[in-house]
Amino acid sequence: MRKVVRGFYAIAEAVRLSRPNVIAAYPITPQTEIVENLAEMYANGELGDTEYVTAESEFGAASMVLGASAAGARAFTATSSQGLLLMTEVLYNAAGMRLPIVLVVANRSVSAPLSIWNDIQDSISIRDAGIIQLYVESNQEAHDMIPLAFKVAENRDVLLPFMVCVDGFKLTHAYEPVDLLDQETVDKFLPPYEPVVKLDIEKPAALGCYAPPPYYMEFRVAMEMAMERAREVMLKEFEEWYRLTGRDWGGYVVAENCEDAEVVVVAMGSIVALIREVVKQMRKEGKKVGMLKIRTYRPFPHEEVRKALKNAQKVVVIDRALSIGAEPPLAADVKSALFGLSPEFHSVVMGLGGRDIPREQIEKLINDVLEGKAKPGKRFEGLYEFEEVIP
């Protein structure tokens, strides 16, 4: 059913339809409205058998979700920014324990300086935890990917946490038409959760053991293997989603106009939609440009990226996060996928801390690269001239 809703409602509604057993919540801007919406549903008796519980911190919320999942429950939480960083220790732990929890990250920059506005530094910072990370470009995609996240995470070939990354404010607070799923469709797609191991008095087992040197490495490599298997599982589920809803979100990447493109722009998240528009327009003008949307940042789609970019003479990677002291994260990963190929490489950082990225900026960026006016390498776009003062 198509309805004009806020992004956070579209997310909350998809969570409700996924029939989680436990939701643990702690507020943080700009995620707060997601758990507020769920709280309202809970208060109105619309969450069925779902238990909704407020935590004393994000750390507590993540820990409750971990405990619930270990007990055999389908469990959900959402957070942003500092909240995600506060959860980090638990999330690494949950991934190592192979608990298929799902969380939504309403992407927000991290402090200091304090900023409630959007970039993706928060989720990028825990890319190594063993959590599947999927970045969406619209509220429709966010809505659709939540049942899928549960299904992939809970697949016995995967058993890893799944993080749906949604740009804070830009998506979460946008009010727009979304095709809302119905219960029947979601139930058809997402079966009830059958845990592989759970805390069960009939079959006592120890979860969260400690592993001395003869075991530890194998457990971590097993996570790597699971992440590899997740690739296949996810592709299958993307296809099934398309069959069921008629909405095709593509695979790990969406490559548009890349085959003959001289310049390809690579990006993740809501900015992709803007880039798509600009690329379409420039194509009409006869310019050979293309775009590559990265959907899953972990597992990273090396082969797909390489395939999409193999003909490009120039590659522009847009990062909305830093890895201070090294290359920006997405640029580094794209480069590693291109090893052995040597297109002209532009690593562009923009939009940190909610700095707006206007259409003209993207157009100019692509035109400059196309016309050879931009120097390859790393640069910051939309940055004001400033002088650092150390008093």
Partner: protein, 94 residues
């Protein structure tokens, strides 16, 4: 080497009984069955647990399992009738 079995998410059910920690200490506890009144204090307090009450010759007595007795003296100290003695293991005897 045979392939290691890695149970994802969980360790096996109780397995430590295979760990014979009775070799840790230099002494073992022994029960004087004549004196033992089967009060169960040693059973309650044994941290391992390595003591249980067993039916022997028509009476219940405490029996120490030396596979797990670490020789800590706790049972010795709680026995109300001095029925437990600690003995140095042969290998440590001077």
């Amino acid at each position: 080497m045979s392939k290691m079995k890695l149970y994802i998410g969980a360790s096996n059910p109780a397995k430590t009984s295979q760990m014979k920690t009775g070799d840790w200490g230099t002494e073992w506890a022994y029960v004087d069955e004549e004196k033992c009144i089967a009060c169960g204090q040693c059973v309650t307090f044994c941290p391992e647990p390595a003591v249980e009450l067993v039916e022997k010759g028509g009476k219940k007595v405490a029996v120490v399992d030396h596979d797990y007795c670490k020789g800590c003296w706790v049972c010795y100290t709680v026995c109300p009738v001095e029925a437990i003695r600690m003995e140095t293991k042969d290998i440590y005897k001077l």
